[in-house]
């Protein structure tokens, strides 16, 4: 298990490759990557604030729950905070499992928890102003399936 919260960019390709390379007994690896998308108003940058004391612990709790709930061999979470430009990668998760259903479900479970239960807050700086991103009801609802 590897959980990293950092302000600098990460190398998605290298992380994905080294995670998958380490999984000799696992048949299935799933990755998810979140990317800063442009918005209709024209996104200048996205700023992510987090709760330093709590973030790492919360992510470890979710990762451990994913490990036991699904048949996962390994979990990786990398999540950035600070300022990002459109096109930059915000975060990634990776899961490894003997079979694909567990790898997919583990990754979706982690993402649903990251979206609504990990202490990160996104702010969008557009050409027309600055706004905290509102939580989406669909993200809260997604937790209901677990």
């Amino acid at each position: 298990m590897d959980i990293r919260v950092q302000d600098h960019p990460f190398d998605f390709g290298a992380e994905a490759e080294s995670f998958a390379r380490g999984q000799g007994d696992m048949g299935a690896v799933v990755t998810f990557t979140g990317i800063v998308r442009d918005v209709p108003d024209g996104l200048v940058s996205m700023e992510i604030e987090h709760y330093p004391g709590m973030t790492q612990k919360a992510l470890e709790t979710h990762a451990n729950e994913a490990l036991t709930r699904f048949q996962l061999g390994d979990v990786l979470i990398v999540h950035r905070f600070g300022v990002m430009r459109p096109g930059e990668m915000i975060m990634m998760v990776a899961t490894a499992a003997p079979h694909r259903a567990d790898a997919f479900q583990g990754a979706e479970f982690l993402m649903d928890y990251l979206k609504s239960r990990a202490p990160f807050w996104k702010k969008e700086i557009t050409r027309s102003g600055t706004e905290w991103v509102a939580a989406r009801a669909v993200d809260e609802d997604a937790l209901g399936r677990w």
């Binding site: 987090h50 709760y51 709590m54 915000i90 979206k115 239960r117 202490p119 990160f120 939580a135």
Partner: protein, 81 residues
């Protein structure tokens, strides 16, 4: 007791953290104390259904008892991922 504020809660109150002395027994009572203090607190806590709270870095409810908590954090719903 250490109070922490994040995102627009921090912006409305105007500071990221402060230390308070309180007799409040629950999160809810603490919120009422803060709202009575100053307009900016009243504004930040106007609608607690739009807020989340963590006691000692664990998510909690607004009716949770405060006893023993050293750190109380208030923030909007999280938007990670």
């Amino acid at each position: 007791m250490e109070l922490l504020y994040f995102a627009w809660v921090r912006e409305r109150i105007g500071l990221p953290r402060e230390t308070v002395e309180t007799e409040a027994r629950t999160v809810g009572e603490l919120v009422e104390e803060l709202k009575a203090r100053e307009e900016r607190y009243a504004a930040a806590f106007a609608d607690i259904s739009a807020l989340r709270v963590a006691l000692d870095q664990e998510l909690a409810d607004f009716d949770a008892p405060l006893d023993g908590a050293r750190e109380v954090a208030f923030f909007p719903p999280m938007t990670g991922g």
